[in-house]
Amino acid sequence: MFYREAGDFKTSYREDSQTFPIKFDRWRFWAVLALAYGVVPIFINDYWANAVFVPFLIYSIAAIGLNILVGYAGQVSLGTGGFMAVGAYACYKLMTAFPEVSIFVHVLLAGGVTAAVGVLFGLPSLRIKGFYLAVATLAAQFFLVWLFNKVPWFYNYSASGQITAPSRQVIGFFVTGAQTTAVSKYLFCLVMLTIVAVLARNLTRGTVGRKWMAIRDMDIAAEIIGVNPLTTKMTAFMVSSFFIGIAGALFFAVYLGAAEVGEAFGIQKSFLILFMVIIGGLGSIFGSFAGAAFLVLLPVLLKNVLVGSLGWPTDLAAHIELMIVGGLIVVFLIAEPHGLAQLWRLTKEKLRLWPFPH
């Protein structure tokens, strides 16, 4: 009834090719932004920021980054944890070396450093693909973690090998360090996520994204119609690593405040983010959000319900929680192999016809 193209006339090419062709979607988009920027900051407290929103926002950035590589360009990567570590350590080195520069710039620069490293480790993708590429990126994961453990320069020769984020401000508000308020933490990550999501959405709709998808769908055919595999694959690795680097920098500097490479950026992180992308939906920006929400919020929710409301012992709850999350992943993938994003797509199709399905 209200969710339809009919009656929504476009009078210019610009309007015709906008991100949300349906009016209801546009309203919804602005409503979500208004809610995220206007309402949530009023009610947020330390617990909501640190246990729910900030990890959700940061994992969303990482999932969008990986989705570009795996979902749009079809290059399987298991190096996400390693690339996040590059972002985190680049951010740390920049923060300590140039304390007067804004942390906002440092986070973007950390993304840039990660992009360079990502391109370097993306080079094998020109020769190998599929599982073989996955193994090559796995090597990146292990190599990077080893490197940050081995070379003391990266952690400024601290006794424990830990990196700790010093206090830094953006326009007068602390966003890293202990004095940071929940609101500034949340808003900083939200701004980053908005930039990343808008950028990713528009990249994937344009020439660059179409080239990625062409390579994903059939690389030989793409090459024949004039898509350069070198630049296409390299841009995919570059953009993906840039986003993942930003996520890594925020993860360390804003969320955790201190990190240890093996623990925070180990192979589990690579898998976690890959699962987010798969469960959310390959090749979908919304899917990245949905996957991140599923894997970040569900465990917190289950923990609160099982331990908090039902009063179960913590160890039992922790085990049951793993089983429930694992079970739900299996159920979702059987019910909808294309991820949560496909459910959303189906809902939209149904909404178009509602309330007269025939």
């Binding site: 617990y47 640190n50 424990s160 202990a178 201190a258 929400a293 923990k303 012992p313 160890d315």
Partner: protein, 427 residues
């Protein structure tokens, strides 16, 4: 999707918030994952001691103690979540039993003004109370442990380690890396050669590390291990027939769970101990009466009297004594986190007090001051007897070499103070 989850989380949260009252001492524990073997007995001991106080004395100074438990799985992200989830309920002190989580919490507790108590683990330089106002790690820390182990080896070798080779097998994390700086300095002082052998998390695979040890034939092996890594290391050492009496673990590598799986092979393995072990203390009479036999034991109740259970109980005992001191200073039983800190800073545990508590000759006496949050740092050496399945203490308390440690603590805490912009207190 997101909205729906948020709504559900909200529902869960509202139901989760416990009533505000009593003395709240959260127990950030881990009973799952590769470190559960260490985390479970510790959490049980910690809980049981407070249950004992509640049941026998009606709490501390008439105030009941609440110990909300939160599972961290030794994971820093979950640790942060647990901290945020529990701090709003008037938490007085945190004891996360994880060096990684401790590093994370140090800036947070300093901003939120809640004490952090990390006996025998955490950031060593937090012993310097001039810089770390809210962190306490008495009675001993990692650098003390490293120095005690070397002092013990010096005694064994007639006062000289010249030309000896000592290998350090360590968990490749903040925890395992802590003693390296001290051992390097001690190596310079005593002329031994130090080989560093890292083992990555979780440490189930150590073949190459022990192959290296077999090849290089060090005279002694020290170990900074935790969780499943300990059991594997002891087993591997037995496999390569390394003389077990020359293999010394830190106090976190010296529980029953670490040596039992290796069977007879583990016989003679040594570890440091910062307190006594076993059920031969008078406190267990009450513990049996009020907690165990009453069916109020934490967890499965099968860990009572083990090394790590004793350590959890010890930590709980120190916290309870600090709370008592805080009540005394504040003049009210309902203390807040700031008053709790004063209790920690003015805490003095004497042997007489330990006897009163039913723990004679259990731990070392110590007294904290504004500048000293680290205690004397002495430790004993215990040895495993595989036939009787018992740890036997082979030395008394050995004091660490403060001549080496003091400058290191001063240097590291000064570096932190500079990074975090802290000016020294207590002057």
């Amino acid at each position: 999707m997101k909205m729906k989850f948020t709504a559900l989380v909200a529902a869960g949260m509202v139901a989760a918030a416990p009533a505000m009252a009593d003395l709240v001492i959260p127990n950030l524990s881990y009973r799952t994952g590769p470190y559960a073997a260490g985390g479970t007995p510790y959490a049980d001991g910690f809980n049981d001691y407070f249950t004992l106080l509640n049941e026998r004395d009606g709490g501390i100074g008439g105030e009941k103690v609440q110990v909300p438990e939160c599972e961290t799985a030794y994971n820093t992200e979950k640790g942060v979540e647990c901290y945020e989830a529990t701090k709003g309920n008037g938490a007085l002190v945190y004891n996360p039993l994880s060096t990684g989580i401790t590093y994370q919490l140090i800036p947070k507790v300093s901003a939120d003004h809640i004490s952090l108590y990390t006996p025998g683990y955490g950031r060593t330089s937090a012993a310097n109370g001039k810089v770390f106002e809210w962190v306490f790690n008495y009675p001993a820390n990692y650098w003390d442990g490293a120095s005690v182990a070397i002092t013990y080896l010096l005694e064994q070798n007639g006062g000289s380690l010249e030309g000896k080779k000592i290998a350090l097998v360590y968990h490749n994390s903040a925890y395992g890396k802590e003693p390296i700086r001290t051992l390097t300095d001690l190596a310079k002082k005593h002329g031994f050669e130090l080989t560093e052998i890292p083992v990555d998390h979780p440490g189930q695979e150590q073949k190459s590390q022990w192959l290296q040890i077999r090849r290089e034939k060090p005279d002694y092996v020290l170990m900074w291990g935790w969780g499943v890594m300990n059991q594997v290391a002891v087993q591997e050492a037995a496999n390569i027939k390394f003389p077990m009496e020359n293999f010394i673990g830190i106090w976190w590598s010296g529980s029953e769970n670490d040596v039992v799986p290796a069977g007879d092979g583990a016989n003679g393995y040594k570890s440091l101990a910062m307190h006594g072990t076993g059920m031969d203390y008078p406190v267990y009479t009450d513990m049996k009466k009020y907690v165990l036999d009453a069916g109020k034991a934490s967890g499965a109740g099968d860990q009572v009297g083990s090394v790590l259970y004793s350590r959890g109980m010890y930590a709980a005992m120190v916290i309870a004594e600090a709370a008592r001191k805080a009540q005394e200073i504040a003049g009210t039983p309902a203390i807040n986190a700031t008053q709790m800190r004063d209790g920690f800073e003015n805490l003095e545990i004497t042997e007489a007090r330990m006897v009163e508590l039913g723990l004679p000759n259990f731990g070392q006496p110590f007294a904290a001051t504004c500048a000293d949050h680290g205690g004397p740092g002495a430790a004993m050496v215990q040895q495993w007897d595989a036939t009787t399945k018992k740890w036997t203490l082979v030395t008394g308390f050995i004091a660490p070499d403060m001549e080496v440690l003091d400058p290191l603590v001063a240097e590291d805490s000064a570096a932190y103070a500079k990074e975090a912009g802290i000016t020294e207190r207590c002057n």
